[in-house]
C-alpha cells in the first residue's frame, strides 16, 4: 500500500441519558461544528460513512433521515451497521483505495432514551432456540465470561470493583462522559446492585445517547488540513464463534488475531514497549483485562495484579481508557469510533485532565456481539513513519 491515511479531526456529543433533541438535530450540530473547525463545507467531503443500527433507531434503513442533516445528500454515502470501529476502518479502506481523499465517519446511537440496548442485543440471538428460551441475554452472558476469567485466574470481585472505580475516576476527567465520579472507590462500586452475579450495575456500560464524528484524509490532504494529523498505521479485525459453549470465554482469540493484523501492518513487535495508551471497548468491567491481554498489553491472567498495582492508571505503565472507556459512556454504534476519537485527543495532546504524558502511539479497540465475539483493533501514531 503506497497511500497513507490520517485522522484530522473529531467531535463528540456530550454523552447523556437523553439528548433531549431529535437525532437529526444532534447530528446536524455535531457535523456543522466539525466543519466549522476546519472552515469546510460538505462539498469538501469525498465520501460519507455512516454508522447506526436499524434496531436502535426503530427504523428500517437507519440512515435514511441521517443523510440530510450530515450533508451527505447528492454525495457518495454508505453505511456500516456494526460498531463504529468498523466504520472508521471502512472509511480508512476507502481512502487507501486511492479513490477518495477525505472521508467523514458519522456514528450515533440513542441507546439511552430510545430502545434499551440489552433488548436490542437479544435480537442478535438465534430466533428459534436461543431467543425463545430466554436463558441468556447480554449481561447474563457477560457474567458467565466474568466468572470464567475470575475462576481461571483466581481473581476476586474486589478487583473488578477496583477496575470499575478507576474507570469512573477517569471518566470524571472526560468532559463528554455520562457516568463519572472523581472520588470513586472500590467500595462505592461494590455498593451498586447486582445485575447478574458477579456483575454489578457499575461494572456494566450505561445506556447512552451520543454521537461521534471523525474526519479522515489521505496523506497529503491531511497535512493541508492540519499541522497535527494522527496517522492510522494499522487496522485489523476478527470474529469468533457465536456459540458461547464453543468458546474459552476467559480469553479472546479474535481480539488477539485482530491485534496481530493491526500490529503487523503498523510494525509493532513489542506492544507493551511501543504503545503508550490504549482505549478499549470493555462493555463490562471484566472484559478490560481479557481484551488488554489479547492485545498484548499485559500478561495473561494479570487482571488482579494490574488493578492492584495501578498499572493501567493514567500515570501508570500502560494507561488504559483514560477517558473512562465504556463505563463512562457507551452509545453502542458510536462506541468504537469514540475510542478512536479519544486516542486522537491523547495523541494531539488535547485530552485535558486525562492527558497521558508523551503519548506517541495509541491503540483503539471496538467490539460487537455477546462476550465480545467480534473485535477490531486500530493503531494510531503521531509520527507519520
Amino acid at each position: 500500500m503506497d497511500r497513507k491515511v490520517a485522522i484530522v479531526g473529531q467531535a463528540q456529543t456530550k454523552h447523556s441519558e437523553d439528548t433531549g433533541m431529535p437525532r437529526e438535530r444532534m447530528l446536524f450540530e455535531l457535523v456543522k461544528g466539525l466543519f466549522g473547525q476546519f472552515g469546510m463545507t460538505r462539498h469538501d467531503i469525498d465520501t460519507f460513512v455512516l454508522c447506526s443500527n436499524d434496531f436502535e433507531t426503530g427504523r428500517t434503513i437507519s440512515n435514511v433521515f441521517e443523510d440530510t442533516p450530515v450533508g451527505a445528500y447528492m454525495k457518495d454515502e454508505t453505511k456500516v451497521e456494526a460498531d463504529g470501529a468498523w466504520a472508521v476502518m471502512y472509511a480508512a479502506t476507502r481512502i487507501l483505495s486511492g479513490i477518495y481523499d477525505t472521508a467523514l465517519v458519522v456514528a450515533n446511537s440513542l441507546g439511552g432514551s430510545e430502545f434499551r440496548p440489552y433488548l436490542i442485543m437479544d435480537y442478535q440471538l438465534n430466533p428459534t432456540y436461543d431467543r425463545q428460551l430466554a436463558l441468556i441475554n447480554e449481561p447474563s452472558a457477560a457474567a458467565f465470561q466474568a466468572r470464567s476469567y475470575m475462576d481461571k485466574y483466581g481473581m476476586t470481585d474486589a478487583y473488578l470493583d477496583m477496575i470499575a472505580a478507576r474507570l469512573l475516576r477517569n471518566a470524571a476527567r472526560n468532559p463528554n462522559a455520562l457516568r463519572a465520579k472523581a472520588d470513586a472507590t472500590p467500595e462505592y462500586v461494590a455498593g451498586s446492585e447486582y445485575l447478574y452475579e458477579p456483575l454489578r450495575k457499575l461494572h456494566c456500560y450505561p445506556f447512552t445517547d451520543g454521537a461521534c464524528v471523525l474526519l479522515l484524509a489521505s496523506g497529503e490532504k491531511a497535512k493541508d488540513l492540519t499541522d497535527s494529523p494522527i496517522w492510522i498505521k494499522g487496522l485489523g479485525d476478527s470474529i469468533e464463534s457465536y456459540y458461547l459453549g464453543e468458546r474459552e470465554l476467559f480469553r479472546s482469540p479474535s481480539a488477539r488475531l485482530a491485534a496481530e493484523r493491526a500490529y503487523k501492518m503498523a510494525g509493532i513487535s513489542d506492544p507493551k514497549g511501543q504503545i503508550d495508551v490504549a482505549e478499549v471497548s470493555a462493555k463490562f468491567t471484566h472484559q478490560e483485562p481479557i481484551i488488554c491481554e489479547a492485545l498484548g498489553l499485559f500478561p495473561e491472567g494479570s487482571g488482579g495484579e494490574v488493578a492492584e498495582k495501578g498499572l493501567s492508571e493514567i500515570d501508570g505503565d500502560m494507561p488504559v481508557c483514560p477517558s473512562g472507556g465504556a463505563l463512562g459512556a457507551y452509545p453502542f454504534s458510536a462506541a468504537g469510533a469514540i475510542r478512536v476519537a479519544e486516542c486522537f485527543r491523547q495523541l494531539t495532546g488535547s485530552a485535558g485532565e486525562a492527558q497521558v504524558a508523551n503519548a506517541g502511539t495509541a491503540v483503539a479497540h471496538g467490539q460487537d456481539g455477546f462476550c465480545a465475539q467480534h473485535n477490531a483493533v486500530i493503531v494510531l501514531t503521531v509520527e507519520e513513519g
Partner: protein
C-alpha cells in the same frame, strides 16, 4: 488503486417465496458453498468477508454474528454493510475497496435476505414509522401531507407516484410498462435462479388487477428468500486462481434526500427525478474510462422493484436520452439479443431477496461477461462493458458498477 476482478459467484439453489427447509444461516451457507464450488477455492483462500442484508426484514440484529460459524468467517476480518435496497452492491463495493486498497487480496461478499421470516411491507413501512409516531403524538394531520399518502400502499403505493411522474415526463404509456414487464418475466423464465419463472405475455400482465394506478400486480416484484455470494480478487490473484475473470472497472454510489417521505407538504422531491443516478453513473463511467456510454455499454442489469423503473433507469443512468427508453423497447433493443439487453436475468422485478438484489445485478453482469450463465438467458453478443445498478432507501440511494471483460488501464 489496484485492479479488482470478480472470479466467481454462488447462488442459493433457488430463489423462492418461502424456504421452509432451511433456517437463515443454513440458507446463506448454501450460497457460500456454491461460490467455493464454482471457484475451486476453500475457506483458507479467503482473506476477508463483507456481509450485508436488511436486518429488520428478519428481525435479527447484526446477523453476521450468528452467521459467522456458518459462512467460514471464523478468525477472519468481517464487516457488515447495510444500506437498504442497495445493500447487495454496497457490500460488494466494500469488498472492492478492501482489495483495491491493498489491504486484502481475496474477499468474499455475502448478501442475502430471507423475507419469509418476517413481513416485508411492515419492514418497509418501518422506514417512516418513527416520523408517523411523532406526527401522531403532536396531533399533526397525517393525510394532509401528500408524501405519507403513498405509503398507505406499502412500497407500491409510493412507487405509483414515481411511475405517474415518469409516464408524464417521458411520454411512455402504461402499455409500455406492461410490455417491459412481459419482457422481463419471459427473460426470468430462462433463468434457473429467478423466482417468478413463467413466460408471460402483455395480455397476461394486463389481466392482473391495479394496486395503485398505473401499477398493476403484474408490475411488481415478488418477495424472495435467497442469497448471493461473490468472490473478488486482486489482478495478481486473478491470474493465479481463475481462468476467467470479470473486472470491476467503475464503482460509485450516491445518496439524496429521502424523496417520498418528506412529510411536510411542499417539500416533496419528485421521486422520478433521481439525481443520484446521474451523479453515480457519470462517476462510474469516468472511472472505467467510458466516454460514450450509449455506444460502449453492452448490457444493463437494473434494480427495478417495479416494471416502469427499467425504462426510467435507462434514461437516468445516461444509457439513452430522456424519453427514449420506451422507443428502444418498441424497437426490441432491450431484448436478450437486442442492442442493449436490459435485465436479461429478469431483474429485481422477477427475483427480490432484497439484501441480495443489488448484488445479483453485478453478479449477472460478471457471469454474462464470463459466458457462465446457467439456463437460457446468455446474451449472444460479446459483452465488453456491463452496467450494474442498485437502488434503495426512501427512493434515495443509487449504486453503480461497471463490469468489463478487461481490467482498466492505469
Amino acid at each position: 488503486m489496484r485492479n479488482v476482478a470478480i472470479i466467481g459467484v454462488g447462488y442459493t439453489p433457488v430463489f423462492v417465496s418461502k424456504r421452509k427447509d432451511v433456517n437463515i444461516v443454513e440458507m446463506i451457507s448454501e450460497a457460500v458453498d456454491a461460490a467455493f464450488r464454482n471457484t475451486n477455492l476453500t475457506p483458507d483462500d479467503i482473506d476477508s468477508i463483507t456481509f450485508g442484508n436488511m436486518q429488520t426484514f428478519e428481525g435479527l440484529n447484526l446477523p453476521h454474528l450468528w452467521a459467522a460459524d456458518h459462512i467460514s468467517a471464523l478468525g477472519k476480518p468481517t464487516i457488515r454493510i447495510s444500506t437498504g435496497g442497495t445493500t447487495g452492491m454496497s457490500t460488494l463495493q466494500a469488498a472492492y475497496y478492501q482489495v483495491a486498497s491493498g489491504l486484502y487480496d481475496v474477499v468474499m461478499a455475502v448478501t442475502w435476505e430471507k423475507q419469509s421470516e418476517g413481513d416485508s411491507q411492515v419492514g418497509l413501512a418501518g422506514i417512516v414509522m418513527p416520523e408517523v409516531m411523532v406526527m401522531v403524538q403532536n396531533g399533526m394531520d397525517l393525510f394532509g401531507g401528500r408524501g405519507i399518502g403513498g405509503m398507505g400502499g406499502g412500497s407500491t403505493g409510493a412507487a405509483s407516484y414515481q411511475a405517474t411522474s415518469y409516464l408524464h415526463h417521458s411520454g411512455a404509456s402504461p402499455e409500455h410498462i406492461d410490455k417491459m414487464a412481459a419482457l422481463e418475466r419471459t427473460n426470468a423464465s430462462k433463468n434457473p435462479y429467478a423466482h417468478l419463472r413463467k413466460a408471460t405475455t402483455v395480455e397476461d400482465i394486463q389481466a392482473t388487477p391495479f394496486i395503485s394506478w398505473p401499477l398493476r400486480y403484474g408490475h411488481t416484484c415478488p418477495t424472495s428468500d435467497g442469497a448471493t455470494v461473490a468472490i473478488v480478487v486482486s489482478e495478481e490473484k486473478a491470474a493465479k486462481l481463475a481462468d476467467q475473470a470479470a473486472w470491476i472497472n467503475g464503482v460509485a454510489c450516491c445518496a439524496s434526500d429521502p424523496t417520498t417521505a418528506n412529510l411536510i407538504e411542499g417539500q416533496i422531491t419528485d421521486p422520478a427525478e433521481q439525481q443520484p443516478a446521474r451523479i453515480a453513473a457519470e462517476k462510474a463511467f469516468a472511472m472505467a474510462g467510458i466516454k460514450n456510454p450509449r455506444k460502449e455499454i453492452d448490457m444493463a442489469e437494473l434494480y427495478n422493484g417495479f416494471a416502469h423503473q427499467s425504462l426510467m433507469w435507462l434514461e437516468k443512468l445516461g444509457l439513452c436520452k430522456e424519453g427514449e427508453a420506451h422507443k428502444m423497447l418498441d424497437k426490441g433493443a432491450l431484448d436478450i439479443d437486442g442492442e442493449l439487453p436490459t435485465n436479461a436475468s429478469g431483474g429485481v422485478f422477477s427475483t427480490n431477496a432484497i439484501g441480495a438484489s443489488a448484488m445479483n445485478r453485478p453478479a449477472e453482469c460478471a457471469l454474462q461477461i464470463m459466458r457462465k450463465i446457467e439456463g437460457g438467458h446468455q446474451i449472444p453478443k460479446k459483452v465488453r462493458n456491463a452496467l450494474a445498478h442498485g437502488w434503495g432507501g426512501l427512493f434515495q440511494y443509487v449504486t453503480v458498477m461497471i463490469i468489463s471483460d478487461e481490467p482498466r488501464k492505469a
